[in-house]
């Protein structure tokens, strides 16, 4: 339900939008859908050296109901794709998807019969992180960019 303002004056709603957007961007509970190599860098990014927690995005919730951020970390092959789709479907709104690493963005080095050539064939993606696996800096950069995107988009309430 998008916020409609019959008065045409969007001050209050935009303030509210900004407020809720602020809360949402600083509190992203990730659902780590970790499958492969990128998991190593996901571990690094959430461990002490890079500390994803600083962005409010480090408390992994392993249930899609409580998670805001679906981190698809690692290769998704055709056997796994229905699982990913179901997990995404089971997430509660608002939900954001990050394609973490080359395999999820485009299939990466695995241009073959087994691997889904980019998870955007299955689910919508909000942020693509290239890299094989992406360095933690890239992950943090993606989180910052995703936060900006959340802040600047209309909030559903």
């Amino acid at each position: 339900m998008a916020v409609e303002n019959p008065l045409g004056d969007a001050v209050i709603t935009t303030k509210l939008d900004a407020f809720i957007g602020w809360a949402r961007k600083w509190s992203m509970f990730p659902y780590p859908f970790v499958t492969a190599c990128c998991g190593m860098e996901y571990m690094s990014a959430s461990a002490a050296r890079y500390d994803l927690d600083r962005f409010g995005a480090a408390w992994p919730r392993f249930t899609p109901r409580q998670a805001d951020l679906l981190l698809v970390v690692g290769t998704i092959n055709h056997k796994l794709s229905p699982v990913l789709k179901r997990v995404y479907d089971q997430m509660c709104d608002p939900r954001y998807v990050v394609a973490f690493g080359a395999c999820t963005v485009s299939g990466g080095p695995y241009d073959n019969y087994a691997v889904v050539q980019g998870i955007d064939n299955i689910i919508p993606v909000d942020m693509y992180i290239p890299g094989c696996p992406p360095r933690p800096e890239t992950v943090l950069d993606a989180v910052i960019k995703l936060q900006a995107k959340i802040q600047n988009s209309p909030q559903e309430m």
Partner: protein, 120 residues
Amino acid sequence: MDFNHDFVAVAIMLGLAALISGAMVIIKGLLGPRSTNPSKELPFECGVEAVGSPRRGMHVKYYAVAILFIIFDIEIIFLYPWAVHFRQLGLFGFWQMLIFLAVLVVGLFYSVRKGVFKWQ
């Protein structure tokens, strides 16, 4: 000690707690976006479809623990008045309760030997 007053206070506490908790649950029910799809209406089971229902007989071991709890919790309630007046009851009270506890411990020992705490 004005018991009346204390219970009023407890009642207020209960009311306030109910108010806060209730308000949170109700306000939460009103806020937030909503959407649905067929997959969302299924229970989450690691991304695969669940087979069978969770609502069926639970393992008997859980119940054994529950039965033990009922026995022991009630006995403990007996212990409280005894403990409060322990100094007055003196040595005799001590022996009495020791026997009582011994019976309990024997019961516990029995249940141990019956394998209540063995899980395999």
